[in-house]
Symmetry: D2
Subunit: 452 residues, 4 copies
Amino acid sequence: MTRKEAFQTIIGTAEAITPKLVEERHDFHKYAEGGWFEMRTTSLIARRLTNLGFDEVLLGDQVMKRDVRMSVPSDEVLDAEYARALAQGADPEFVPYTKGGMTGCIGILHCGDGPVVGMRFDIDALGIPESTDPDHMPCRLGYASVNNGFMHACGHDSHAVIGLGVAEVLMKIRDELHGTIKLIFQPHEEGVAGGAQAIVANGHLDDMMYMIGSHATKRKNEAPGTALVPGMHGSLATSKWGLVIHGHSVHAAGCPELGHDALLAAATIILELNAIARHSAGATRIGIGKVRDDSVVNAISDEVHLDFEIRGQTNELCDYMLGKAKRIIEHSCAMQECTYELVCKGAAESFVSSAPLLKRIRRVCTEDLGLLVSAEDSMKGGGSEDCSYFINKVQANGGESTFMRVLTDMTGVAHARNYNIDNEVLIPNAVKAFCGTVYDIVNDPDALIKKP
Amino acid sequence: MTRKEAFQTIIGTAEAITPKLVEERHDFHKYAEGGWFEMRTTSLIARRLTNLGFDEVLLGDQVMKRDVRMSVPSDEVLDAEYARALAQGADPEFVPYTKGGMTGCIGILHCGDGPVVGMRFDIDALGIPESTDPDHMPCRLGYASVNNGFMHACGHDSHAVIGLGVAEVLMKIRDELHGTIKLIFQPHEEGVAGGAQAIVANGHLDDMMYMIGSHATKRKNEAPGTALVPGMHGSLATSKWGLVIHGHSVHAAGCPELGHDALLAAATIILELNAIARHSAGATRIGIGKVRDDSVVNAISDEVHLDFEIRGQTNELCDYMLGKAKRIIEHSCAMQECTYELVCKGAAESFVSSAPLLKRIRRVCTEDLGLLVSAEDSMKGGGSEDCSYFINKVQANGGESTFMRVLTDMTGVAHARNYNIDNEVLIPNAVKAFCGTVYDIVNDPDALIKKP
Amino acid sequence: MTRKEAFQTIIGTAEAITPKLVEERHDFHKYAEGGWFEMRTTSLIARRLTNLGFDEVLLGDQVMKRDVRMSVPSDEVLDAEYARALAQGADPEFVPYTKGGMTGCIGILHCGDGPVVGMRFDIDALGIPESTDPDHMPCRLGYASVNNGFMHACGHDSHAVIGLGVAEVLMKIRDELHGTIKLIFQPHEEGVAGGAQAIVANGHLDDMMYMIGSHATKRKNEAPGTALVPGMHGSLATSKWGLVIHGHSVHAAGCPELGHDALLAAATIILELNAIARHSAGATRIGIGKVRDDSVVNAISDEVHLDFEIRGQTNELCDYMLGKAKRIIEHSCAMQECTYELVCKGAAESFVSSAPLLKRIRRVCTEDLGLLVSAEDSMKGGGSEDCSYFINKVQANGGESTFMRVLTDMTGVAHARNYNIDNEVLIPNAVKAFCGTVYDIVNDPDALIKKP
Amino acid sequence: MTRKEAFQTIIGTAEAITPKLVEERHDFHKYAEGGWFEMRTTSLIARRLTNLGFDEVLLGDQVMKRDVRMSVPSDEVLDAEYARALAQGADPEFVPYTKGGMTGCIGILHCGDGPVVGMRFDIDALGIPESTDPDHMPCRLGYASVNNGFMHACGHDSHAVIGLGVAEVLMKIRDELHGTIKLIFQPHEEGVAGGAQAIVANGHLDDMMYMIGSHATKRKNEAPGTALVPGMHGSLATSKWGLVIHGHSVHAAGCPELGHDALLAAATIILELNAIARHSAGATRIGIGKVRDDSVVNAISDEVHLDFEIRGQTNELCDYMLGKAKRIIEHSCAMQECTYELVCKGAAESFVSSAPLLKRIRRVCTEDLGLLVSAEDSMKGGGSEDCSYFINKVQANGGESTFMRVLTDMTGVAHARNYNIDNEVLIPNAVKAFCGTVYDIVNDPDALIKKP
């Protein structure tokens, strides 16, 4: 198969399977599953990869290092979700591997000598209820989420089926592939609760020299018809923390002097966290929320819950904020004779897309795939992404990695209850860009290969 | 009937009806009703006073000025409680008056010329669940609360039946009575949410020159067998407030400069309320609780709820604290460009028992009733009591008033889930003390009468 | 000499020497000397006691334990004051003992068996400039302070000459005296910087069973002509502290993240000290002042000075405040990575006058001396007094002690620049009360004597 | 005169007059004058410009709008400085114009049609004492500052003589000049107290289309021998403020409830200023210093002084910080019932050098003057500069402006007591760069001319 024939196969297959993928995206949307609950989704992905003939289909502890996960709910909650997944048509052969929230799946093709290339598709829904507005497309077409309180409001349902499409297309050109190709279907990206970190911790990226992630993104100032932006930069490093302050409760009027006031500690922490000195090396941020003191007014507070996040333009700036925050918490609590527990609930790093890989994507898309690419190589990111762990790990290996923005029309905004995107164009564009770039890499005689 | 015969009647009747009253207290305990929910209790009290032949039995808007009540739940909640009360055997003739939380009842005896004398019995349960320990007496005897989340853990069930006992005894000596006698069965004392204030607002105390309230209290350092302490002092004036701060939410990392941070306002308020200058004229207190900020960590907080209470050794000191608190709230919110709502959820005044009335109670109890009275005239109070509004109103009229502590053995402590008291002794002692003192007052030629 | 003759001698001598004492008070007023600077005053007192024939006249290290003193200025400053004292007519024989701020003097009479009785007269001026108003009496009469920045604005010049008068009168009745009598002329009462503590530390009160201090006080609600109030209570225990916070200075715009902000630590301390929980056992106070941060606005603050005082109705309450304050300082500094030094600059205890001694003074004054005594035994004190250390030490010995208020007419208020009092009545009244009471004690066969 | 001859004249004259200029710089250094005190310096500059034959030499109110100046000392202080200046050899003809701190001088050459070109030379010393280390060059050579507390520790003495050198050179090529040339000798740059703003306010820049300022700067990473960096960017906009908080003082133990605590207000302000939300559009800064509360510890503070500065990467960010700061101050004071005064003590804007002018300077320096120019067009600035007002005004006119860094070797650092720079190279380089660029502009047929 010539290069030209290979690209014709990629383009033709991607377009041919799009209607099926759109259907499957409706199914994932309807059975939206939050982080660590993607049991049905995972099992169906594993079924598909197996049926397609992937050399390896990893599940459960093969995918993630169990203890690296954060914000893991109680066994009770996880068991209930497991029962729900089964009842909603999870694949009975594969779903048992997901028990206890060990979701996610990795499909691997071994194609002889050559570079190790990875792709990442995140599959979790958000913990927000979906709009019930009859004009909201999923309502109109009958695939709105039936899992109350969970909604695919950030497009990870599309990401999942893009991964399935990539898997199917790659099998069509399997004979033209070289090296090792890994499709990582990652759980729990929202809240950056360790889905990516737990996969990295299992060593799956140790030999990887190319890595591509992507996100469906609203087209804004780009020329009409622009299919994608090859890279991203400016995403802030972050970590999210849960703090519980323990005081000592006494009657606030009867003997206030005997109390250890957890609320006074919390107020000091809130003020002092906001007052951390600005850093001359770049942007820093502090965010505080979910504050809860259930004590009654006539009792000194003995327990206050508080979540916070810190961010920095670089990992170093994020570390600066964390060091300051920990010191503030330690001494604000000690000042009031309170104790505390501080638990990390999520984290992501900053990152920068690799310039050579951006150039390659641009070339493949415009010359081989006929896709319109944005004028700018790289889009500035606002929030945080745990694909950063994959990207930075591969760059640390000496490899190249990026996070593409695949563009689409959007109703509402990301994380809104009426979020909806145009998948008919998004899905084939994304499948083509992933597969075309992978083909180009593994057929490049100068492709990077990890030295043992 | 001579004085001696009258007292023999009081003593004899009180003892005779005690077993029945104890039973009725079990019934009130089992069907514990929180503040503004005392619908069944109120209807049964009205039935009893009517059956006993009271000249007037006031209910609903006759008892309280509707708008003076505080912390009134939604109509939905009140309607559900009404249905519950009916299902639990409320008197169908009287219960309709209590709809919408217009609970409480006043029984009046018109006995010709003479002083106006009032007594107050509070009837509400606390919003806490009762212990399920099988050793807990109400569990063992089968009268533990069936109304989940409500428990008579402060003895107001005993107070209610003491009032019924007083009503029955007074009817036995009705021919010996003079003036006007008012038995006030007051709702919602816990949280001091306006039960007393709403009754005062309706004018029921405008002509009253004698007023006695009481509370069942654990016997501590008093001599064994001591029946009561005639008075109380040192109760702190208080008011309780609900604050909602409204900010403006934006993404805490994306554009923090556009937010109006309600949580930062709250933290400032918490610190500054604690830092209000101590007052040289006596004790002041601040209490803060029920803080809730549901915003997520990556959003500037747009709504924070916070309850607080202030207290002072006198009403003036309480006003001082309130003035300072209001100023702090106003400017802490304005500083962060936040708005707020501040709602009074309860209040009580400080008070001092009238010395002549204490002397009278001591004399009647020891000389006429054979009860052992504490060495001290007056016990120091810890918390707050809205009987203060009755006591201070009567003293403002030029009259005399007090709050007796009727002593008892106690398991657990007040407001604890395993609270239990010995009613067999408490109830007759209280009934005797109330009735004997009222007899003594109305037969005293020098008794105080309000000048028109 | 009969009791009557003795009292005639006391009364007669006191009145006879008053004009001379008034003159001497003008001299002390003119050469006002602040705490640890009372070198001239001390030397003149020692000269007088020596001339009168006292058995012992103690000076320097005999009086005070050197290291117990607080707020001691530099040697440079003390040397300059020494030169000034010499230039202003200090007694050359005795002034050398006061070098380095070792001021104060104790005169002792050994009169055989009997109780040990002490009296305390404080002698220091305040560190404030005197009014230059020509209507201000000391200006008009030419004895306004010539020592710039120092003024006897609290009457300790009067206290000193009262002590001299007592010494002179006691010598007239020396044959009627028994036991041991100690006249303590104490330095540095203002600021409670250890003048009393350093004397106690030297053991001078170890055998003392009676102790009387006094203060000239404005007559307020007392009946006209009232000469004194025998006792005092309600003086707050206190300690005063100097805090220096050391941070790390960097350019506030260039690299604020590298600073350790001493000013932010100070602001936290100020807020949190004010927010220390009120104590249910009685009054507490916090006072902060003398804050100084000399850093420029574009540098992170590296040094902040701050003085504060805490007070409590009892020594325990004062300790409570100190414990809280120390914890706040430690952790507010640690939070900002600052270090600090905390130095005690003064202290006083709470105290209560001994009832039997008050009774004795009342009896002596009214029956023997013909002085009008206030209706109340004891006046409520506002500020703090280090005579508390003498009073509490004697009571700890099992003895009796008090702090009398000798009443007078006053212009201005204490510590004001135009403070002036009527000494012509004050001085003889005070001398009579002191001497009469001492005579009564040492001639009382039941007088308390310390058991070895 | 050909272009080549003109440049030979510039180079030759600059080098010839350098020894004289170095001498004059020693004189200015010795008689260092702080902001608004540059009376001697101004008078000597005016004398020189007059002697050189400048068409106009402006002084006093001709130079600055009087009321725009900030941080102006009292008349008393200014009069004393005037007397000092006279005593130190100020020119008696010109110095009277500087009375009251109206310092600074503008020299103007009218050369017919052509662009208006300005240059700015700042002339004030810093308010810091000079090192007395005998190794410190000015000490060794005998020209250390004789004005105690003032030192040229930022090179403005060099700037002043560079201006004199430019004036002298320009007169040598006067016939080759066109348009209007203004030499602005600006007072009080340190503290950015309005020296520049007051000149702009008088309209001197209204027609100006080219503007060059400069600063002597330590050579760091630049190639050895590099003479200058043509431009600057990244200087932060700033304003500096003096705050006085007025409270109400009462005895902190006697009646704290009556106080209005200015110190508590200050502590709140310090914390809240630090806690102003970070801005997503760029760097912001807060700096606080010079805090002074002279109240004693036992009095509620009635007056607190506090200086602060805010900065922002752009003028808009600086405005954001100021808006927040003012709101915090208003409400922190109101919260404690305090009043306040807030006075602006200085300000500077952010700015960016004009790229075409940088290109012109680079070309002139390298091609015509033989000076080595840095690789980078523009150096990042740290602090703030009120030359920003000149630069931004000219750019607002549609013109071009820049702030050159003329490089030198340096001992110590700027604003340090041992600061010293190598003037023998600095001065001729600067004079050449200024004069060469001006020659190039006014002989450029395409030079920008303000449209009326």
